[in-house]
């Protein structure tokens, strides 16, 4: 076994072949054995395998693209489980984008935010209000609901509105630190939800607890997006943008200033970093991802009400970030996928299975341990196990590795430009 793994390590061709084989087998089993959750999950797992191969980054992206755009929708399309698989995949995508947004705030800038779902709610209501008749109740002009074609613009609007609220929240909140910041953001999250819950009078803006029903589905050139398999592609496109953006920010001047603030505020300031602006930027960018996905969520559900945006949601997103690995983009993606699939698929399947058994009289559960009640228990137990045995997360954050040779060359230029004294003596200890 040891020999085999050693052989595979370093042999890219073998890795590709094995990966393709794996994808083929899982695809076929999903294609043929319909409604097999296991096959679906194993197919998704191929993306994780892909991450661990030693292929060049560009090739990895291409393969991931092929699997996500082509293979997964196609092989799951043959049977009755199709839409439910696509639904799961879409929800995973939405949570991944939100978790990546929160990762900027918590993982990179080190600001614990317990009310993150508020920005998701803001995005959802931004579209929900204008894509239903609701806006007519308070807007003095205009013709509502807006058509489904406005959806595409609303992705941008949701992004900006959420970012704006990120800044508005940030200005008073960033005076406090640590535990206090967590409490204040928790309060903000609840305030937003309660405001949406009660903003049906004096002017009916959000329709209160009744929620906004029949939100217009997205539409482009007369083609309507109604089913999960259609939303899947919208989410995929936004997600691609989000991942690209996060990676670029992470290893930039801005990302470094976030990390510097996280590591040591006083030292960061003494390097000329504007503390408030840096933190606000983290809040705004993190919130904007959430806002975009909020718009998609509203369009997908066609119904928005305050119960979708509870504290539990904020906590769940935070758990995704921490379980995946704070500050680590691949980790957070994996964390979000694992938690969502666990909640939507695995735990419900397990519960169904146990229910079936007890119905058939194979085993019997006492009332207090009914499978439905066990679901949260198992979830909690998994979190505790992870916190103890893998506190750094599923895929811990990695620092960039710089190429010493090329920097050596480049640094010589600087010597000539700036300083004309020999440095080779160094300051050796």
């Amino acid at each position: 076994m040891q020999k085999l793994t050693n052989k595979i390590k370093g042999n890219k061709l073998a890795q590709i072949i094995l990966l393709v084989l794996y994808v083929l087998v899982t695809s076929l089993s999903l294609y043929l054995a319909q409604a097999s959750v296991t096959a679906f999950l194993l197919l998704l797992f191929s993306l994780l395998l892909l991450y661990y191969t030693e292929l060049p980054d560009r090739l990895k992206w291409v393969i991931a693209g092929v699997v996500l755009v082509g293979v997964i929708p196609f092989v799951s399309s043959t049977g009755p489980g199709y839409q439910s698989y696509m639904e799961v995949a879409t929800v995973v995508g939405i949570y991944v984008a939100m978790a990546l947004g929160l990762n900027i705030v918590v993982g990179l800038a080190g600001l614990l935010d317990l009310g993150f779902v508020a920005f998701f709610a803001i995005g959802a209501y931004t579209y929900g209000i204008f894509a239903t008749g609701q806006a007519e109740k308070f807007m003095p002009f205009g013709d509502f609901p807006l058509s489904g074609e406005s959806f595409w613009i609303f992705i941008l609007i949701g992004c900006f509105v959420a970012a704006l609220f990120g800044v508005l929240l940030g200005i008073p909140v960033l005076r406090v630190k640590g535990d206090y910041l967590a409490i204040v953001t928790l309060g903000f999250g609840e305030i937003i939800r309660i405001v949406f819950n009660n903003l049906d009078k004096p002017v009916n803006i959000t329709n209160g607890a009744m929620g906004l029903a029949s939100v217009k589905p997205p539409e482009i050139f007369g083609y309507q997006f109604v089913y999960p398999n259609q939303f899947y592609y919208i989410v995929l496109a936004i997600l691609l943008f989000v991942i690209l953006a996060v990676r670029r920010f992470e290893f930039s001047r801005i990302g470094r200033s976030w990390k510097a603030v996280r590591e040591n505020e006083i030292a960061a300031q003494s390097m000329g970093i504007h503390l408030v602006r840096t933190k606000l930027l983290a809040f705004a960018i993190g919130a904007s991802f959430s806002g975009m996905m909020g718009v998609v969520f509203a369009a997908k559900q066609t119904f928005v009400d305050p119960t979708s945006f509870t504290l539990l949601e904020s906590i769940t997103i935070l758990v995704m970030v921490i379980l995946g690995g704070m500050g680590s983009v691949p980790g957070v993606i994996l964390g979000a996928a694992v938690i969502t699939i666990l909640n939507l698929q695995v735990l419900t399947e397990v519960t169904n299975y146990l229910n079936q058994l007890s119905l058939n009289g194979v085993i019997s559960f006492p009332e207090a341990l009914a499978p439905a009640k066990m679901q949260r228990f198992i979830f909690g137990a998994i979190l505790i196990i992870f916190a103890i045995y893998r506190p750094q997360g599923l895929i811990p954050a990695k620092n960039p590795v710089f190429d010493e040779e090329s920097l050596k060359e480049g640094s010589k230029k600087h010597r000539k430009e700036q300083i004309t004294v020999e440095h080779d003596k160094g300051f050796q200890a």
Partner: protein
């Protein structure tokens, strides 16, 4: 010509007067030491200059600009850099990135540029890496560039702090106990290094230090603080024989033998 003029600087914490109407003038291009027993207010004095605390009274001037009311990051932009007594590195990022943070104010990449990775931003980033590497070479840490800052040895962490401070291209460099925890050989090398920095980089250096050998060897001007007050100033030879200074360090009996 003086680069730093501190006049009547006062800071109170509750009933404790940490710094009491201190006047100090630092000449451009000089090496100046601030010494004093523990709790004399030396670090508070640095914190007042760099904006970590706001003074209750008095004025701090860098060249001709007053620094009163300015935030730490603004003061850093005016050209003051510092190191910290209890090392404050960005522990979980690499050594090279630590220095790159020091270059922050010289870089311009904004949100849009970063998002689209424009040519300008990419070039700027490359230049920043090279320049940061150059500073690592200058302090002799270049072979550690990809290590996490927290994994460096104590002495190396101190040097990294200096490299990070130098990357901001300061006019005035404040070193808070740079030799703390160093062995005699390291201290000797540090002494040489401080001299070299001044010659190479055209920077004025103010340092807080307890190692008297280093202080006496290196400084052109020494200020002595005790209980928040300036009790003496002058050249090393003058300070060495100053009655008040001996009294502050060794007690009254050392001055007036029974």
């Amino acid at each position: 010509m003086s680069i730093l003029t501190v006049s009547n600087l006062t800071k109170q914490f509750g009933g404790l007067v940490a710094v009491n109407s201190v006047d100090i003038t630092v000449e451009k291009g000089s090496i100046t030491a601030v010494i004093g027993p523990n709790g004399a207010g030396k670090t508070t004095f640095f914190n007042l200059i760099t904006g970590v605390y706001q003074p209750d009274k008095g004025n701090v001037q860098l060249g001709s600009t007053s620094l009163i009311g300015k935030k730490p990051h603004e003061i850093a932009r005016h050209g003051i850099a510092r190191t910290f007594q209890n090392i404050r590195l960005f522990s979980n990022i690499t050594v090279l990135e630590n220095v790159m943070v020091g270059l922050h104010k010289q870089l311009n990449a904004g949100i849009v540029g970063t998002l689209f990775q424009t040519k300008k931003v990419r070039e700027e980033e490359n230049r920043a890496q090279e320049e940061a590497y150059h500073w690592l070479e200058y302090v002799g840490l270049s072979q550690h560039l990809n290590e996490d800052a927290q994994n460096l040895s104590y002495g190396a962490q101190r040097r990294l702090e200096i490299a990070r401070a130098l990357a901001t291209k300061p006019k005035l460099l404040l070193l808070d106990e740079p030799a703390a925890g160093m062995n005699p050989r390291e201290t000797r090398e540090l002494t040489e290094f401080i001299h070299r920095m001044r010659e190479d980089l055209d920077v004025t250096i103010v340092l807080i230090e307890h190692d008297m050998k280093l202080v006496m060897e290196i400084s052109e001007q020494i200020f002595v603080l005790d209980h928040g007050e300036k009790i003496a100033e002058g050249k090393p030879a003058e300070i060495r024989n100053n009655v008040k200074v001996i009294e502050a360090y060794l007690g009254k009996s050392a001055v007036t033998p029974a």
